[in-house]
Assembly symmetry: C2
Homo-oligomer: 148 residues x 2
Amino acid sequence: MNAVASKPPPENNLNERLAHSGLRLTPQRQQVHEVLREKMDHPTADMVFMRAKAKMPEISMATVYNCLDALVQCGMVRQVTLDRGATRYCPNMQDHSHFYCDECGSVHDILQTISPEDADIKLPRGFRLKNIETNLHGLCPDCAAKAK
Amino acid sequence: MNAVASKPPPENNLNERLAHSGLRLTPQRQQVHEVLREKMDHPTADMVFMRAKAKMPEISMATVYNCLDALVQCGMVRQVTLDRGATRYCPNMQDHSHFYCDECGSVHDILQTISPEDADIKLPRGFRLKNIETNLHGLCPDCAAKAK
DNA sequence: TCTCAATTTAGAATAGTTCTAAATCTTGAC
DNA sequence: GTCAAGATTTAGAACTATTCTAAATTGAGA
């Protein structure tokens, strides 16, 4: 487990990714990751807990938070924050943005982003930009249809 | 107070805006709005409460939330959500984006946005886009300097 | 096998927000 | 001006989301 710092391209499998961040692969982390990939509906920690519990009854809420944090830390999962509500989790690490339905609160992946170049963002002196998060707000197809 | 619905361009002063949404101008709402404009550092509800309390000692937390909601509802204030923490409030209604410092958590207004046209976002069928929120992540000047 | 550090666990604690019911204020009708 | 109806404020309780704590468990390396 040396030469870790010298491995520039992070791997795409869970084990490698965790190791790369100095974290271990545990059954719980695996389970949480699976839950996220199984139904990519941007669940809250609570929803992840319930789904994981169905398969692994002894898992605890604290562990779910730990696991989610570990997955976020090692770059396998993204955190998604909507107004005032609980944080949601997204295992899609492709560059994409999120569409929030103002009506029903559902979240949808939109496979299109605005790159820093496209955006032509000119920051004041001193700021160091790492990434751009784009959130789209409006009505999802269902709610748009209902709204006449 | 009729003909309200027939007034298409919303006014820019607090009273008009509130009225336009069927809300009243109260001393508390005025105070909360002032607090926000006085120091535009994207305070949390709690910070707003403390600052408002300094000038208006009888004001309660519930009222601060009510007022913030009213101000958001009538379009005088924007809600800003950062990862997992408390919601922040921004009285700058100019089109702008927010820069979050990953290090110190500070929030900065960046007077540049990506319009739906510029972005050239193509949504799947049925979605109705209302607005785009752009959040920039990275290091603020202070933290960038410290980070060598 | 032993030791040490990482991880998990249950439950307590905290933070952020919303709810409730009573009191107060405002507005429009008379 | 007076009154009723509805909006708003208030304190505090309740609730939800998240973090902390301390003990138990696990796993890796010596």
